[in-house]
Structure formats: C-alpha cells, structure tokens
Point group: C2
Chain length 309, copies 2
Amino acid sequence: MALIIKPDLEHARPWREVFLETLPEQECREWDRPGDPEAIEYAFVWAPPSGALKTFPNLKCIFSIGAGVDHLLKDPDLPDGVPIVRMVEPELTQGMTEYVTMHVLRFHREGPALEAQQRDRVWNELIVPTAPSRRVGFLGFGVLAQDSARVLNALGFDLACWSRTAKTVDGVQSFRGADGLDPFLARTEILVCLLPLTPETDGILNAGLFAKLPRGAWLINAGRGGHQIEEDILDALESGQLSGATLDVFRSEPLPKESPFWAHPRVTVTPHIASVTQQKSAVEQVAANIRRIEAGEAPLNTVDRVLGY
Amino acid sequence: MALIIKPDLEHARPWREVFLETLPEQECREWDRPGDPEAIEYAFVWAPPSGALKTFPNLKCIFSIGAGVDHLLKDPDLPDGVPIVRMVEPELTQGMTEYVTMHVLRFHREGPALEAQQRDRVWNELIVPTAPSRRVGFLGFGVLAQDSARVLNALGFDLACWSRTAKTVDGVQSFRGADGLDPFLARTEILVCLLPLTPETDGILNAGLFAKLPRGAWLINAGRGGHQIEEDILDALESGQLSGATLDVFRSEPLPKESPFWAHPRVTVTPHIASVTQQKSAVEQVAANIRRIEAGEAPLNTVDRVLGY
C-alpha cells in the first residue's frame, strides 16, 4: 500500500523525507518511479499529466498540493468516485493574508504615487483617507479570503465579498450570485480576486467587469492567471478605469520576458508567491486525512467536482 | 476669552471653521492676528516661535497639533505651570497603524528584492518565512505603537517593545530601560521607531545601535528626524548591517533635493505622512479638554515636561 507524490518541480524540496517522517506507515513513491500501480492508494500531486491518475486502479484519495484544484479537474480522465482534497493548511492561509494585507494597504495608502514622488525627489504631503472610508471587495470568499478579511477588519477597512453562496462574517457585507455582482463591483475601490478557477470564473477579470468598478479602482489578483484577460487589464490601466494592478498569477507562468506587465509603471508583478504550501503542515494535513480514511471516515476539505472547488 | 491657533502652514486647512463649529463658545483667533494677548486662554499650535507663547499671560493650556511635543519643549521660554496636551485622536493612531503595518509587511515579505526582480524581469519564486517567525521590535511603545502592535499581532508577528517603563500588552515582550536595550535589539529583525523626541532619544538611531541589531535588519522610522543620524543609516546600508530603511521623517524637512536618501535603492522616503492629525476628531478632543478645564477638571493626555512626552 503506497502513496505517490508529484510536487511542482519548480518548488522541488524534500517532500518525500517529510512524508517518511510524518506518515511512516505509507510507502512513499516518487512520480517517476511508481512501481506496481495497483499498490498506489493515495496521490499527492500538482498538475499531473492528463490520464496519469487513471492508471492507479486502487486510488482512495487525491490530494492537491495547492489550494486550487483546477490543475486536477482539467484532466478529462480523472478517475470517477475518488475524493479530491484541496490543501487547507495554516501556513498557506497565513501567507495569503500577509500578501493581501500588504497590497491592499499599498494601494489604499497611494503607494504608487508616493514611489513616483520619491523617484522625482518631490516632497508633497499626500493626504490619504483612513481605512474606514476605503471600500475593499473580495471576489471569492473561501478560507483564504476570510482570513485576509479578519486582518483587514482589524485595520478598519469597509469590506464586502462576492461569492456563490451568501457568507455571514462580521464586518463583511455579503453579495451573492449573478444578481449580486454588479452592486458589489459598484462599491468596490480595491478588488481582491481569490476565486477558485472554474469554467464559470475563467476570464472573469475582463473589460466588462472592470467597467462596473468605480473609475480608478485597483485590482489585486492572487487567484489564478486563468481569471484574467490580460489585454483587458492593460486597456483598463491605459484608460484610467484601473489605477493599478498587483498580479501574482498569469495566464502563462513563468511570466514571459516579453510581457508588458514587467515594465508597466502601474503593475506590480510577483512570481506566484502570495502563498506557498509549507511542507510540514501540509503533510500533517494529508496524514490526518489518510488516517481518517483508513479508519473508515470521510476525509476533510474535499472538493465538489461539479462546483469545481 | 479666546483660543489662538497656529497650524503648520504646509498643512493649512480651514482649522478655524472647524473650531467655530465645534467650540462656538470660544473666540478663535489666527496666529498672525492675536488681538489682545490677555484674552488668550488656549493655544492650539504646531512649532510656535520660541518665546511666543510667553506673550499670553493668561494661558490655561497649550495643545499640540501633533502627537509629539518636541516642537514645544524646545522653547526655553515656554510658560511654566501651563499644562501641555499632546494630540491623541483616533485618526492619527489609525494612520500610523496603517503605515507601520504596510512597511513591516513590505520588509517581511522581501518587497525590495521582489521589486528588483520585477525591474530585471526575473521570475524567481522567493520563499519567505511567515510572520510568526519574524521578529519585529518597537522602539517606544505609546498609544501609536500599541495600536500598530494590535494589528501586527493579528498577523502573527513575534513582537517586542522597548520603553522607559515596562509595558504589559498581550503578545508583546516588554524590555525596559538602559539594561533592556541591548537584548531588545539583539532579537529585532525589523525595528520600528515611534519614540518621542527628547534629549535622551535624540540621535538614538546611530551606528552603535545598528551594530546591536542582527546583521541585515530593517529600519522603519516614523518618529522624528531628530532620532536618526543620517550618515550612520547610509553607512549601515552600505555595510549590509541594515538591509533597508523606510523613513517618514528627516533631520531637515522637506528632505533637501540633494539628499542621498531619495535615490538610494534600499531606502523608501515618505514625506512625513505616516500619520496626519485629522481636523474633526482633533478639534473634538481639544473641545472636550477645554470643557473639562472650564468645569474645573484636569485635562486629559497631558505631557510630563521632565520626561518630554
């Protein structure tokens, strides 16, 4: 009985050793040396090739290394009936909260204008409003966004969220569904995208959506590159509809050298580091779920394949 | 019976109108038209010329427009026995908390390195630790620093403070007095200066202090320019003892065009805007204190002239 692992090679770190230490009862196999496929009961993977997971006939559970599972659900041959678990671990949440808080504050406090003043050696005492009069909106309001909202709430921001189902979180106005999107956008000065990537949310950050924000709004996308229509972001910056964009994710990663985002004066590019799964707590979560399954219980943090998250 | 006001001319805004509305029972006079000096009972001032306040023989209270009172105490002819009130108002505190949180996060998250990567079009997934393993230290721990600590605590940072008297705040290790300074510095990776400027703290941010920080520490000074020896900051950046500095205050303000800080790749210059007194809530605080005095009560938030804050 074995576990097979396929970490993202660009984040290659000794995952196997952490598994051996945390979950010694499972034989841990690396992706390129699977051995007997019938022995594989668990897979811990990032972006496996389409059809690969189908070759393990006794798979009991598929664990995503990241919070998103779009990299799994795009596989047309993903084995039916096998539960899929998304990554929920405290360090992943923590990293996102830090990233979102920092970049919301940077836009709120007119960071780009102050940076331009420094370049030009201009001492101009820009007066900015305080957080209670700044309207921040979360597009998507799962575990990561809710923790970011906890800190932004402590800072006093005027918060709202948009999600499929209504959310009840203190200090956060909830908008839901298709009807809720336009009023949510109309009141949002700083838009933070933390949606899952699904067929419904693919390309949601487009010209039509930007046009519904107040003029001069700011965009932070720490969801997926697939959410954004990149030419529409550039156009909205050009027209002034967006004042700035902070992007941690891109349609093509690593972001190609020739992308206009790199040198754009009002775009911050970060290399998909808003939030990184930490080995130790990630493996502990997987181990706890494997022990649940072995004890006949359902795993925690499973994904609804129809909803896509 | 009258109130005289001397706002900072660079922040000139219609203070007088706010006073007339909030405190209609007091005649509000502008600094350059004081009228009969014997009628002046209250002064609401920023950096009055030395000797000027002494010309009002019936002064009952002096209100500082900012949180610091160094601009008053440097007057050798400051009238004896007149209480001095420092500015404590929610918007001033809020602004500082936002500034400190943003700049602590920027250093913690390797903002300068990521910005350099973007300039060079480099996609390198820098892995940063999360806040619980980052040690932030407050030099000075009054109202402003304590509110910043509240938010940094919600973010999970490892916090300490150094102050004259020990402080008991959840989640913040307290160091005090001369003996406490070295151990405080030895454990502090991101140093935030929010001290009052007094003869004891003048020039405290110097080479000797920087040498006691861990190598590669970061400095944020949102206190006063008088705290910093500016050549020592440049030397510490040059040697690598400091990795970066975010400075909101300077020995000479506005920062002269020829200052090396402007173009320094590891210095962020902001034009003394970390925290700005907001008119409405400031005048409400002054009005409440004047009404206390008129009712025979002692004003709140008075300054100890010997301690200097």
